[in-house]
Symmetry: C2
Subunit: 313 residues, 2 copies
C-alpha cells in the first residue's frame, strides 16, 4: 500500500479514491501518499471542480440547484425549480410545481390559476391539505366552450378542495368575437366579481401554450388554424392565459387581445408571485418569452428547458 505517486493527476485520483471510497481522513491520506494534508484538501477541491469526482443525487424528485441559481440571477426571478430529465417529464415537473406550491410561504389566501393539461397535472399531484383554506380563482375564461370543459373547472375545484378552500370559476368564453360582447360580459356582475378577485390574488400559477395548430384555442374552436398561422407570421411564440405573445412578451394582435377575457398580462407582470409551470421542447420559445419579459417571478421547469433559457442569446 505504500506509494509515491509521480503523475499529479494520478495523485488526485488516488486521493479522491481514498477519501470518498475508503473514507479515510485527509490527514491519513497525506501520511499514506507523502503529502501534507492541505495539499490533499486542495487537490480534493480541484478534483470536484474538474469533475474527476462527480457527486450525483439520484432521485426522481431531485432538483438542479445550479441551474436554478443561474436562472434566478440571470432573470431576476424570486425563485426557480429545475428538475432532472425523466421519462414522464410532464408529471415530474407537475410534481415539482405541486411541491413548490405546498412549500410556498406565506400561504396564499387567494391563488389565481389558468387551466390546461399542465395545471390539471399539478392539481393531481398536490397532496390533500397542502393548504388550509385557499380560495382558488380561475384567471382566464374558457370553461363553457371548451371540449375539456370538465377538466378546466375540475382543476380549480380539485386544487381548492385539497387546499380546504373554495374554487371560484370564471363563467366566460376565452375569446369573444366582438369587442362589445366582451365588454358586456366583463361588466356582468358575476364575471366582474371573479375578475376582481383574480386581479387581487396573492399568487398566480399558470402554464403557457404553444402557438401552432395543436393549440387548445384551436381545438376548442376559439380560433381557426389560419388565425394561428397568421399570428405566428406576426411573431407569436405561444399563449399565456389565452393571450398570444411574441418573443418580447407583448401581445401580437392587440385587437384579439382586447377580445380575450381574463387577467391581463400587465396585471400578471405586476404580481410578486406569478409561477410559471412549463415543460418540454415545444414550449421552449414561449418559456423564453415569458421568462425574459418578466411575466413570471418563479419558473418551474425541466433541465433542458432551463439550459435553453440560459443559453447566451
Amino acid at each position: 500500500m505504500s506509494a509515491l505517486i509521480t503523475d499529479p493527476e494520478m495523485l488526485t485520483v488516488r486521493i479522491a479514491e481514498l477519501y470518498y471510497d475508503e473514507n479515510k481522513t485527509q490527514d491519513e491520506i497525506g501520511a499514506i501518499l507523502g503529502v501534507t494534508r492541505w495539499k490533499v484538501g486542495r487537490l480534493l477541491t480541484r478534483a470536484r471542480e474538474k469533475g474527476i469526482v462527480r457527486i450525483e443525487i439520484v432521485h426522481p424528485r431531485a432538483r438542479r440547484l445550479g441551474a436554478e441559481r443561474e436562472l434566478r440571477e440571470r432573470f431576476g426571478l424570486t425563485d426557480a425549480v429545475v428538475v432532472p430529465l425523466a421519462e414522464d417529464l410532464r408529471s415530474v415537473v407537475a410534481q415539482a410545481a405541486a411541491d413548490y406550491l405546498t412549500a410556498l410561504r406565506p400561504v396564499p389566501r387567494t391563488l389565481g390559476i389558468s387551466w390546461g393539461r399542465t395545471l390539471d397535472d399539478v392539481a393531481h399531484h398536490l397532496p390533500t391539505g397542502w393548504a388550509n383554506g385557499v380560495n382558488v380563482v380561475q384567471i382566464n375564461g374558457g370553461v363553457s366552450l371548451n371540449k375539456r370543459a370538465g377538466t378546466a373547472s375540475t382543476t380549480a375545484v380539485e386544487i381548492a378542495r385539497k387546499g380546504r378552500g373554495q374554487a371560484v370559476l370564471l363563467p366566460s368564453p376565452a375569446i369573444l368575437e366582438r369587442l362589445e360582447t366582451k365588454r358586456a360580459i366583463e361588466s356582468d356582475r358575476t364575471v366582474a366579481a371573479v375578475l376582481d378577485r383574480a386581479a387581487r390574488a396573492d399568487a398566480y400559477l399558470y402554464s403557457a401554450g404553444v402557438a401552432d395548430e395543436s393549440s387548445v384555442l384551436v381545438e376548442t374552436g376559439y380560433l381557426r388554424q389560419e388565425d394561428v398561422a397568421e399570428l405566428v407570421r406576426k411573431g407569436a411564440v405561444g399563449d399565456v392565459l389565452g393571450r398570444y405573445i411574441d418573443a418580447n412578451g407583448n401581445p401580437v394582435d392587440p385587437g384579439l387581445d382586447e377580445r380575450t377575457v381574463g387577467l391581463g398580462l400587465d396585471e400578471l407582470r405586476r404580481s410578486a408571485t406569478a409561477i410559471l409551470v412549463v415543460a418540454g421542447e415545444a414550449k421552449h420559445p414561449v418559456a423564453r418569452a415569458v421568462v425574459t419579459s418578466g411575466l413570471c417571478d418563479v419558473v418551474v421547469t425541466d433541465e433542458v428547458t432551463a439550459a435553453v433559457l440560459l443559453e447566451e442569446s
Copy 2:
C-alpha cells in the same frame, strides 16, 4: 425558498441538494428546513448509504477500492488492485499492474516474471526508471520453442532496462517430453543458476492462461489440442507458469507437471509477494483457482473479475 417538508425521503433529497450542489453548511440547511443540524448530518449519511447521493470517481486509472478491500479480506491477500471496466481492458489492467509495481515498497532487488501477452503489456506500461537496479529473472521456460520467442525474452529485458537492471533469461523449453531430459536440463549449470535465482526472488509478477485450444502451450507446440482437452476433462481450469491446475490450484497431471521447467507452484505459494495480473472473462476460472488456493498474495484485475471472485461460492 422557505419550506417545511413532510415526506422524510424528500427531506433527505433536499438536504443532499443543498449540501452537495449548493454547498451550504449543515447548520444553514438545518435553519432553512427547520431541523437540527445533527439530523441533517445523519440524513446525509443515510443518503450516501442508501445511494441517493452517489459519489463517483471518473478517471481511466481510477480504482475500485471497495472491491479491493473485500478481496483482501476474503482471501487474505496482502493487496488487491481492481480497475473499472473499459474498452481496452487488458491495457488498463496492465497499466494498473505497472503502477503497482512502480509503487511497490520495498523495491524488489530480484523480480521473477512469467511471460505472455499480459506481461508484455505490463512491460510496455512501466515508466523508465520505475526502479533503480532490479534483476529480472524469468521463472518459467519456453523461450526457445516459442513462436513469440522474441516477446518472451524482450519482456524481461524491457522490464529490466526500465528498472535500470539486468535480465536473466531461462534458456529452456517449457515442457519436456521425457522426465529424464527435464532432470538433465535442470541440472545444467546455466539453467540451475537461473532457477536458483528465480527461487530466491523478492517478488513475482505473473499471469495465468486459459485451458483451451487457444493456449500458448498448444500454439507453441508443447501440447496438442487433444492433450489440453484431456487435461480439461481431468479438471484443468488454466495454467500458471506453464503448469495446469484444477479449481483447487493443484496440478491436474502430476506427470506432466514433473516435466515442466520453472518455478514450482509450492515455491510460488511460499513467496510473500506473488502478484497475479489477470483480466477478462475467459480467465475467470483460473483467476478463481489461483486466488482461492493461495498462489498469489496480490491480485491486479478488472472489476468484473473481482465481482466474480467475490460471488458466494
